[in-house]
């Protein structure tokens, strides 16, 4: 019996050793490319396609859940391609943690990226603002708007923030409004409703937004959450709420299934609301910069960008992709906003002063 056990143990060790070699050792002279992306943020076959077309590269793919999880990791290990959001790109540039790609090696990015995105302001500092597009290539973007049940609410096609966000603060919908448990989105909706900039530092404007959110907590009693909200919009339990455009797509996906409840949802992007762009960039400590440029350019190639846009269901900044999307998506101004709306959208600025001010307000709101 013991002998058998020992033999089993030995076999297991040997097996493990073999697996270990298989896991760590890869074929001869293949360059590894370390890609660090959001979870579920790339079409399933894209990496395999890239490796097929670039047989000298093997992609080591790892994922993160948010910018703040990614940030501490990239100074500790050398990644080659990152996908940070706008404010995180600014922070990385400020801290000298990014390398400039050579745009001569990124013909697809140069040819197909929507030039209107570069008109957006990303930081109060002019110099930083101008540098963003020298360091980073837009991947996908999503907007923040209102998801609502069209059987209950009629906005009459308005995109005026007063009408749209007014729903969130309307006591008529008590206990039936959803909010993200997220500081900038919540305060942002209040500021946008009041007609102020999402990045205001004016104490009076901020105090007004704070009072509005506190009153909402008392009178409308919104349900806060993230993932669980989607199921409640679908079931009709919640009639409206603040939502990322990607989450709205997930809700539609759920509604399109057999046996789904008979709910009619719509999404509207008010003027002056928030949008977030995720960029592809190369960290300063990358070991395989040339390969990283090949990967980024590959991701900008229209056929690949289309796959990703259709899988992730965020808006693509790739001009070639948009006309190939399903009609209901490309004609929806909430996903592909017209020039005027796009120009009115703001990204969240982020520096220590802003973060601290907003965190203090958020604390008071959630403490109430």
């Amino acid at each position: 019996m013991t002998r058998i056990r020992l033999a089993a143990l030995l076999t297991a060790v040997l097996l493990a050793a073999v697996l270990l070699v298989a896991a760590t050792g890869c074929g001869p002279a293949k360059t590894p490319l370390y890609v660090y992306n959001w979870g579920e943020y790339i079409a399933e076959d894209v990496i395999a396609l890239f490796e097929e077309e670039n047989p000298d590269i093997t992609v080591k793919y790892k994922t993160y859940s948010d910018n703040e999880t990614m940030y501490p990791q990239i100074s500790k290990s050398a990644f080659d391609v990152l996908f940070p959001s706008d404010y995180m790109v600014i922070r990385l540039i400020r801290e000298g943690m990014l390398a400039k790609p050579d745009f001569a090696n990124l013909p697809n990015a140069v040819a197909h990226t929507d030039p209107r995105l570069a008109q957006t302001r990303f930081d109060p500092d002019d110099q930083l603002n101008a540098q963003l597009f020298e360091y980073a290539v837009p991947y996908l973007y999503c907007t923040v708007g209102l998801i609502y049940n069209t059987d209950v609410i009629d906005l009459g096609g308005s995109t005026d923030p007063k009408d749209v966000w007014g729903v969130l603060f309307n006591p008529e919908y008590v206990d039936r409004i959803g909010m993200y448990d997220s500081m900038r989105e919540s305060i942002g909706a209040a500021l946008n409703y009041l007609g102020y900039s999402l990045n205001t530092m004016d104490p009076a404007e901020l105090a007004e937004a704070k009072a509005l959110l506190i009153r909402q907590r008392q009178e409308v009693r919104p349900i806060t959450g993230i993932d669980e909200l989607k199921d409640k919009y679908v079931s009709g339990e919640l009639v409206a709420g603040i939502a990322w455009s990607g989450d709205y797509q997930v809700c539609l996906d759920k509604l399109s299934e057999e046996n789904a409840p008979d709910t009619n949802l719509a999404y509207v992007l008010p003027k002056g609301s928030n949008f977030a762009i995720d960029f592809m960039c190369i960290p300063a400590n990358a070991q395989h910069k040339a390969e990283a440029e090949r990967f980024i350019d590959f991701m900008c190639r229209p056929d690949i960008a289309l796959k990703n846009a259709e899988y992730v269901l965020y808006s693509s900044p790739n001009l070639e992709v948009v006309p190939q999307l399903p009609e209901e998506l490309r004609n929806d101004p909430s996903f592909y906003p017209d020039g005027e709306t796009l120009a009115s959208l703001e990204v969240f600025f982020s520096n220590e002063e802003i973060e601290e001010t907003y965190a203090r307000i958020w604390e008071e709101v959630t403490g109430n």
Binding site: T2, G39, E40, Y61, Y64, D253, K254, E258, V312
Partner: protein, 267 residues
């Protein structure tokens, strides 16, 4: 009255088991749900299982997780077995001192263990990756393995070893044929415990895995931004069933051993 109490007991047991197993049951049912939603039943499907085996990212992190769990469990248990045999022969004061030292990593928050291991690897100029991940898992598994093996070693009659030597066994034979079989239940327990602890771990892996490898826990957590992929339900179901089968096998084996023992003793 007695019958009522009996009924109450049964009801209580049902409640406890419901409480323990309801979440897993929901998970298993949802892994066969055609609809992506958690609220609606869209019909039976094996699609998520099929997609799971085509998903490179999940499969490669599953491979890393299993290899790390297996190797770290084996190494930690081997180290712990030797340590326990050694501890047993120490003087009482030194032994309790060393034992307290092994307790400390267990009460230490994972966060502290993770960060300090990461700093140590930097200090040693080891590149974070598979090797550091494995080392980290071995490190946090050793104290648990010691704790599950030591009681068996303490229960063992010390004279057994000397008797074996008297009867002509070499020390190596005595270890293999007398001591190891005596403490085997503890060793098996240690293996199972460390294996599951290693699969469970998120925090320490997050700090020590670097840019090359990702464990299942890290990959699943990173999907939090979007909806959790139903493939994860399928994967969790498969893992639950395999652990269940493993435990049933172990239990059948132990109960068979218990039944066999008296026969062996009788002449």
């Amino acid at each position: 009255m007695r019958r009522f109490l009996k009924g109450l007991q049964g009801f209580y047991m049902v409640l406890v088991f419901l409480f323990l197993y309801a979440p897993v049951m929901v998970l298993i049912v949802l892994s066969f749900n055609k609809a992506k939603s958690r609220a609606v039943w869209g019909g039976f499907t094996l699609d998520w299982y099929r997609k799971l085996f085509e998903n490179r990212e999940i499969l490669s992190s599953l491979e890393v997780t299993l290899v790390v769990a297996l190797v770290s469990a084996l190494v930690a248990t081997a180290v712990a077995t030797v340590t326990c045999l050694g501890l047993d022969h120490l003087r009482k004061r030194i032994r309790s001192l060393l034992l307290s030292a092994t307790y400390i990593p267990i009460v230490n928050p994972d966060l502290v263990t993770g960060v300090s291991l990461m700093l140590l690897f930097f200090f040693m100029r080891l590149q974070l990756g598979f090797v550091t991940l494995l080392l980290a898992h071995i490190v946090f598994n050793i104290p648990y393995a010691i704790l599950s093996i030591l009681p068996k070693v303490r229960q063992m009659d010390r004279n057994l070893y000397e008797a074996a030597l008297d009867l002509g066994a070499t020390p190596a034979q005595a270890l293999r044929k007398v001591i190891l079989p005596e403490i085997m239940p503890g060793v098996i327990n240690a293996l199972i415990l460390t294996f599951t602890l290693s699969i469970d771990d998120f925090v320490i892996s997050y700090f020590t895995s670097g840019n090359q490898v990702s464990t299942l826990a890290i990959t699943i957590y990173s999907m939090a931004r979007k909806s959790i992929n139903p493939q994860i339900n399928a994967l969790s179901t498969l893992m639950f069933v395999s652990v269940l089968v493993l435990l049933v096998i172990v239990n059948i084996r132990t109960s068979r051993d218990v039944r066999k023992k008296p026969k062996e003793v009788s002449p």
